[in-house]
């Protein structure tokens, strides 16, 4: 196997009841790649991303990250692996009543023992606060360092969540619909930001997106999903309009059939 493969899915299937959220999907993402995952809602994008970090386990098939099969890892090893992967959730999942700095600092919990974490998060050293400030500068909200999260706008909360993922010093970032709840201008800024940082630091980036235009603009490789299956997986420049149309048209036909 290619040693540079970061994420590998082999015939992975995840079912929730009768629904196959991910249906015998195989996929390989190399280190440092920028991949956009597109498709209508319910196509399985979220489940695919959650598979890659071991938050859901496949009923059949295999998931491996950096050459190790997730199913074979001990809880300790899984923790260590997750510490190297930042996950940005659609709904940010911060602690709203705590400050931005506290939320960002907790990104490194995966590396610390419990006692060390208590000190690092609640009594951070000056240097660590400066590190957080530097990351917040990169994501464009340095002035929010000591603000409470619930005083921020939706876009600023999403940037805080990205900052928390970056503070992990991750080798890969998985972002699940990171801009579905912000306005179009901010959405473009946020996707551009993620792509730029990933390129600059050689971070592997997989982002699921609703917005095809944004996906085509910022990701050199696109994966199209529908009903849990991969419809296309190709360099963006090779994709034709009918590829994207098929993604949605077919699903509409399917919806009509279902109805």
């Amino acid at each position: 196997m290619n040693p540079a493969a970061r994420f590998v899915l082999e015939d992975a299937t995840v079912s929730f009841g009768q629904t196959r959220a991910v249906d015998e999907v195989s996929l390989r993402v190399g280190a440092g790649e920028l991949v956009g995952i597109v498709g209508p809602s319910g196509a399985g994008k979220t489940t695919l991303l959650r598979l890659l970090i071991g938050a859901v386990r496949p009923q059949s098939g295999r998931v491996s990250v950096d050459g190790s099969a997730l199913a074979e890892l001990s809880p300790q090893q899984l923790r260590a692996l997750r510490a190297q992967i930042g996950f940005v959730h659609q709904d940010h999942r911060l602690v709203p009543t705590q400050r931005v700095v506290t939320n960002v600092l907790s990104g490194r919990l995966g590396r610390w023992s419990f006692l060390r974490a208590l000190r690092e998060v609640y009594w951070p050293r000056r240097k660590d606060v400066e590190d957080v400030h530097r990351i917040l500068t990169r994501v464009g909200i340095p002035e929010k360092l000591f603000e409470r999260v619930d005083s921020l706008s939706g876009g600023q909360m999403q940037r805080t969540a990205i900052a928390r993922a970056l503070y992990q010093e991750p080798e890969a970032i998985l972002a699940d619909e990171p801009v579905s709840s912000v306005d179009p201008t901010r959405a473009r800024d946020t996707v551009a930001l993620l792509a730029r940082i990933a390129r600059e630091e050689g971070i592997t980036l997989c982002v699921s997106l609703h917005n095809l235009e944004l996906a085509r603009e910022y990701f050199p490789r696109l994966i199209g999903m529908r009903h849990g299956r991969i419809v296309f997986d190709a360099p963006t420049t090779d994709l034709l309009p009918q590829h994207f149309e098929s993604l949605y048209e077919l699903s509409e036909q399917q919806m009509l059939q279902d109805a």
Binding site: I53, A55, L78, R79, A80, L81, R82, A83, Q84, G86, F87, H89, D91, R93, L94, V95, T97, Q98, S106, G107, L109, G110, R111, W112, F114, A117, L118, V121, R148, D150, S151, A161, R164, A165, Q168
Partner: protein, 272 residues
């Protein structure tokens, strides 16, 4: 059909009321005060409009220092009791929550035994009223601060633990899930992801209980502890109602101050 069953319910409740009143020996003469009692009640109520700053037994004595001293003692008792019950309430509340035990590799069937036994303990603590604890502890320690503080702290710790455990079990799991996916361990997820999501509710409830603790501390004065209740009890016993109202207003003032303070803190805890 529904209307009929509702009518039966109303008649049933009325009947239960009549039966229990009859059982208590209540009749029109015992419910309606005698003329003499009316006078006492009138004096008590009219004294509300003329609280006094001098003692009614000895006009030379200014009761302001005594009132301030009793207010201070009431606050001290309440603060000490609350601190103690917060420590106990948080520790027991964590141990009584289902989520805490789900963090550890304890077999699923054993978990209810673990949090169940803690819940039994806290049910015992809070089912005995602080006045009853005070009677027992008075016998053990005498009229000491320790006796009063522990008497309040035991049932309060039980109540806090019960409510805290429910808050911990119902706190949103969003942040906890994010930390789990960032590689955090079980204990870290609980402390950094769940507790902070429950803290606003826990804090607001603790402040409410502090108000209750002030009232409890005042009431324990009836046993002779140097809180406001001691003077309320004494002056009422001697029918010095104007003096009694001074102490009552002092208690109301304390409660109002704490309510105002806790309101401010609660707003800070919950909304930005």
């Amino acid at each position: 059909m529904r209307l009929r069953s509702r009518a039966i319910l109303v008649v049933g409740i009325l009947l239960a009321g009549v039966v229990s009143a009859w059982h208590l020996g209540l009749d029109s003469s015992s419910i309606w005060p005698t003329a003499e009692r009316w006078t006492v009640l009138g004096r008590f109520l009219s004294a509300a409009f003329m609280p006094t700053l001098t003692s009614q037994s000895d006009l030379a004595i200014n009761i302001v220092p005594r009132t301030l001293q009793a207010m201070w003692t009431t606050v001290i008792f309440a603060v000490a009791a609350m601190s103690l019950s917060l420590v106990g309430g948080i520790a027991l509340g964590v141990l009584a929550s289902e989520r805490w035990w789900s963090l550890f590799p304890v077999p699923r069937a054993v978990r209810p035994v673990l949090y169940g036994s803690v819940r039994t303990l806290i049910a015992f603590m809070r089912s005995i009223h602080e006045i009853l604890w005070a009677i027992g502890l008075l016998a053990a320690f005498g009229l000491t601060t320790v006796a009063a503080v522990i008497a309040i702290a035991i049932p309060y710790a039980g109540t806090l633990a019960k409510v805290f455990s429910e808050m911990l079990d119902e706190a949103p799991e969003d942040a906890a899930e994010a930390l789990r996916m960032a590689g955090a361990g079980s204990l870290q997820i609980f402390v950094f992801g769940l507790i902070p999501r429950a803290i606003p509710d826990m804090g607001a409830y603790a402040f409410y209980r502090f108000e209750c603790a002030l009232r409890s501390a005042a009431i324990l004065g009836f046993f002779g502890f140097e809180t406001l209740g001691k003077y309320i009890h004494q002056s009422c016993g001697e029918l010095y109602f104007r003096e009694a109202w001074t102490y009552l207003y002092a208690l109301v003032l304390l409660i109002v101050i704490v309510e105002w303070w806790s309101g401010a803190v609660r707003r800070k805890l919950t909304v930005a």
